[in-house]
């Protein structure tokens, strides 16, 4: 009986595994949320804030459209970034050296500079020079190139995780290089990169909020506008946080699920 009570609050480790019964999990989550709620309600009570949800509610359409735009931009740039990331990862192994170094320079440049700067440079310099006027297109492309650099590293790590011994096995059974990629490397890379890719998608959704600086009417910019119209800062930004969570939480859970699903010793 006392062990059962102990298990409500504490995880028991068994070797490398932890055993958490369902009721322990439920109690744990609820008490964590309760603690958070306590801290925040205290903070808000000290604020003496005059809530004014009515003003903000008038602009609900703006939240909805901004949320949808954010979703669309993130999804489109995810698809584009997959293609860019795959190309960059493969260029790292290209026998043609200029291409290989182009891939490396691209990844280092993107990963070494803030997204904010990339958006500004891309919008005011590159897009302008190439005559791409549509800021939604520019924004989506910038995000795609940004995420592509990270995805390229995810894919590269996935390819390298297929060990030399497996490549030897593939040669030994007489597979051609193409067949080796198709039947040995690719399926394993897919399993390994799906969880981090899902995580990358969640980041992409949050990062898209920076497109507000080039006046793309996505979720964040629309919330900023509502705030400007209504002077109700909290009421404008709390829905914003919830709107992002509604997208990122399921993806984060999906990522965890995929990780468990495809975890096999190799």
């Amino acid at each position: 009986m006392s062990r059962r009570r102990f298990q409500i609050l504490f995880a028991r480790s068994k070797g490398n595994h932890e055993e958490i019964p369902r009721f322990g999990r439920t109690v744990g989550v609820i008490s964590a949320l309760f603690l958070l709620a306590l801290v925040f309600s205290f903070a808000f009570s000290r604020l003496h804030y005059g809530w004014n949800w009515d003003a903000v509610y008038q602009y609900r359409q703006k939240f909805v459209s901004g949320w949808l735009i954010t979703l669309a931009i993130s999804a489109a740039s995810l698809v584009a970034s997959l293609i860019i990331g795959l190309a960059a990862a493969l260029s790292h192994r290209s026998p043609f050296l200029p291409l290989r170094y182009l891939g490396k320079v691209y990844v280092e440049l993107i990963r070494g500079t803030p997204l904010l700067v990339q958006i500004l440079v891309f919008f005011y310099v590159v897009a302008d020079a190439f005559g791409i006027g549509n800021r939604y297109v520019v924004g989506t492309l910038t995000l795609a190139f940004f995420a592509g650099a990270y995805i390229s590293e995810i894919i590269r790590a996935g390819i390298e995780s297929v060990g030399e011994s497996q490549l030897d096995s593939a040669r030994v059974i007489g597979l051609t290089p193409y067949q080796t990629y198709r039947y040995v490397v690719f399926p394993q890379v897919m399993r390994r990169i799906l969880p981090p890719l899902a995580g990358q998608f969640a980041s992409l959704i949050k990062d898209s909020s920076l497109l507000s600086i080039i006046a793309v009417s996505e979720f964040t910019l629309n919330a900023q506008e509502v705030n400007a119209f209504t002077y109700s800062t909290m009421e404008s930004y709390l829905p914003l946080a919830l709107g992002y969570l509604a997208l990122t939480l399921p993806i984060s859970m999906l990522s965890k699920y995929l990780e468990r699903r495809y975890r096999y010793a190799s």
Partner: protein, 243 residues
Amino acid sequence: MRLRLDGVVKRFDGVTALDGISLSLSGARSIALIGPSGGGKSTLLRVLAGLELPDQGGVEIDDVPLPTDGESLISYRRSIGTVFQSYNLFPHLTALENVTLPLVQAHGYAKEAANGYAMELLDRFQLASHAGKRPYELSGGQQQRVAIVRAVAIKPRFLLFDEPTSALDPEMTAEVLDLIAELRAQGREFIIVTHEMGFAKRVADHGIFLGAGKIVEEGPAAELFDTPHTAELKAFLGKVLKY
């Protein structure tokens, strides 16, 4: 099988793994390659498997020179079966899929025919109940036996084994060695690198002792193990048989 090696040299940036191997054998059905660590056994086996090209010298098997261009190397590899020490199987495929992959992709079997044939083989080697398992669900010995079944399934001209049991504990070693002995009894030809001297003596009809990239001594297995001539082989056998 008829085997002719003529001054085979293989270097890896500075290290000479094979230092002029010459050999002419005909009529040996099973050959044991023995020798100290780093002696060049694996390298020689990889040359015979069509995985490494010699830097110098020639190799002829059944009077046909080993190919050197990519395309014919692939079809050469398809004609023999090779099993390494470990990690032979692909971790994302079940035992059955591991066996059928080369059948379907490299030997033109239809999917169903490959499945039926592979199941039949797994059954013959008491592995049928493991057909649906991934390698991580199999013991080391079971993994090696599946790898051997995969190598045998393609009806190879001969088999190459590189220390197929040295990653296994004694009990699993026995089950794998039994399987190899069974293949021997069926008349399969093979070359095996092994540290199991008793086993080598039992199944091999020819022995080759490699040291520092050279053939130090070779001959019919019975003679080689019982009456070694060179000091190196005497010392080597003394050392391995001590334990």
